[in-house]
């Protein structure tokens, strides 16, 4: 790879960092929303008994909320290519002597980084709220999961951005696809004991992300598969999403 391409990846990434820092209200709302979920659900259902729930509810919930925060903000980062398209900036990028591949890498790295920062903030806040990681290697594996979730969702965002021409389409996808998948992913409540939910969740890509993150972060009592099995599935999902995302992006017209 030429030095030129590395420069391009760097500056694409840097641009998104700058935009991230400068759009404070968006960042705050993207952190506040999952935080409210965590605090109100976590504290509100503190003493609730659920079938299949081991230990405290907030421990169970925290990984789900972290996954949700990363998913939404990376998807948004992927879809924000639409902004560039609408405001013409995409043309400036595409007319530069830089390969489409580097452009996609830069874009994905930028989006994933911003989403990870938000995910880490939620994670730290959940530690403050009393959630404890099971072990140091577990925590590290959890961070690997967070990275994979971020990249997969940016990829998915890129697919949407290449197929749609406005944000209404994105809203629609969020409401009719992402929310149901998220609710059925065991992010908010266990699906272990209900055979129908449990079977359905095996077809839900988000389930493996949440299950793996939970298993590695707080221990395997509440997860269905072992974190390593989840890891394999999530890596496959991630590679598929990124390939699909870059393919759609490189084919889309300005």
């Amino acid at each position: 790879m030429r030095a030129n391409e590395l420069q391009a990846i760097y500056i694409m990434w840097m641009r998104q960092m700058k935009r991230f820092v400068r759009s404070r209200s968006r960042v705050i709302s993207m952190i506040i929303q999952p935080l409210f979920f965590l605090i109100f659900l976590g504290v509100g259902f503190r003493n609730v008994q659920m079938p299949g729930l081991e230990g405290s509810f907030i421990d169970f919930l925290a990984p789900g909320i972290v996954a949700m925060a990363i998913l939404f903000s990376s998807m948004f980062a992927g879809v924000s290519v639409l902004w560039d398209k609408q405001f013409g900036f995409l043309q400036e990028v595409l007319v530069a002597p830089v390969s489409r591949f580097s452009i996609i890498i830069g874009r994905t790295l930028g989006g994933a980084t911003t989403a990870l920062i938000q995910g880490l903030i939620i994670l730290i806040i959940s530690f403050i709220l009393g959630v404890r990681p099971s072990s140091i290697p577990g925590l590290l594996l959890a961070i690997v999961f967070m990275i994979l979730i971020a990249f997969s969702a940016v990829g998915f965002g890129l697919v949407i951005a290449s197929r749609m021409n406005d944000f209404e389409g994105f809203q629609l996808i969020m409401n009719i696809i992402m929310f149901p998948l998220l609710f059925l992913s065991s992010a908010f409540f266990p699906v272990k004991e209900d055979m129908v939910l449990r079977t359905l969740s095996f077809f839900n890509p988000l389930f493996y992300m949440v299950d793996g993150l939970r298993g590695s972060l707080i221990g395997t009592e509440n997860s269905i598969f072992s974190p390593f099995m989840d890891l394999v599935v999530v890596i496959i999902i991630c590679v598929a999403m990124l390939s699909l995302g870059s393919y759609s992006f490189s084919k889309s017209e300005v």
Partner: protein
């Protein structure tokens, strides 16, 4: 030497042929204008030449590189200012330039000196650390022009560089365009539907209509093609005078707009007394009369039978919208 050459360049969108087998060449160092009404195919041509769209048929060469096969080399050799604004408004002016410089692989030293240089060229040095969203429309346009120059392109494409700007800003932008053509020896390919713009800037002009080139020449030659002066007069009974003048064989063309007549003639100055005499004879009072050299507007009329302005009026709402977009956000 030809720096841009097209060979039957064609683009079809479904049933619509937006660009229809055009072949022309741009010489090194000149300012070449593409002049045509809305929807003529100017932007589509630029998008093909700048590798953003694939031609349906035919091809083109820029600095000897094929626009389909040697995209990277073409991209390396050109600078583009798009019709629609293409800045990141959440970045400062300097950051936009820095983004561009790195995308084009400029070294650290090149970046710092060149950013200062182009900012100076378009008079934006004081504004460099302001977010672009706080720039005026004209400032944004100047920044885009500066940016397109960052990497020393051999050819600069400007798609409607002054669309939606006020008269004074247009003037300044014209000055910058002239200056970079002279000082940086950049070949310039620009599109416009403003006659005065092409008239002021371009060495040679191609007139494009419905995707086809209908005339291509230097501006003096195009004007000579009409072979006459234009006389404009306003009078009391224009219809009577028009009917009378139509009988004179030295009147090449005559047109009536409300109370004014526009005539195409040879040696205009000598025809004025004759017209005055005729109108006195038939009792028509002339309020004013003047001779001018034909403009590109007249040239367009001559070649297409239509005035560019007629279409522009029909599309004025569209134009307003795009100028609004440029200022907004």
């Amino acid at each position: 030497m030809n720096i841009v050459e097209t060979f039957n360049l064609t683009k079809r969108f479904n049933d619509l042929t937006a660009v229809d087998h055009i072949s022309f060449s741009v010489r090194k160092g000149e300012i070449f204008g593409f002049l045509g009404p809305n929807g003529a195919g100017k932007t589509t041509t630029i998008k093909m030449l700048t590798t953003l769209l694939n031609p349906t048929e035919g091809t083109a060469k820029i600095c000897g590189y094929d626009i389909v096969r040697d995209r990277d080399m073409v991209r390396q050799s050109i600078g583009v200012v798009f019709q629609e604004p293409a800045l990141d408004t959440m970045l400062t002016g300097r950051e936009n330039l820095d983004f561009h410089a790195r995308m084009y692989g400029l070294s650290r030293e090149e970046r710092t000196t060149r950013i200062e240089e182009v900012l100076k060229l378009v008079n934006l040095v004081e504004k460099k650390d302001t977010l672009v969203k706080y720039y005026s429309g004209g400032m944004k346009r100047r920044l885009e022009i500066a940016r397109a120059l960052m990497h020393f392109p051999k050819v600069l494409f400007l798609d409607e560089p002054t669309l939606g700007l006020d008269a004074q800003t247009r003037r300044t932008i014209w000055e910058y365009i002239k200056r970079m053509n002279k000082e940086e020896k950049t070949t310039i390919f620009l599109t416009t539907h403003y006659m005065d713009e092409a008239d002021f800037l371009c060495d040679r002009v191609a007139i494009i209509d419905h995707g086809k080139i209908i005339a291509l020449d230097t501006i003096p030659n195009l004007k000579n093609a009409i072979g006459n002066d234009v006389i404009i007069l306003s009078c009391s009974q224009p219809t009577d005078l028009r009917k009378r003048l139509e009988r004179e064989d030295w009147v090449k063309s005559i047109e009536q707009h409300n109370s004014s007549l526009t005539l195409g003639v040879e040696m205009g100055e000598e025809k004025i007394p004759i017209i005055v005499e005729i109108s006195q004879k038939i009792g028509v009072k002339i309020k004013s009369i003047s001779v001018r050299k034909p403009t590109l507007d007249d040239v367009f009329l001559h070649f297409t039978g239509r005035r560019i302005r007629d279409e522009k009026d029909a599309n004025s709402s569209l134009e307003k919208r795009s100028s609004f977009r440029r200022r907004g956000v």
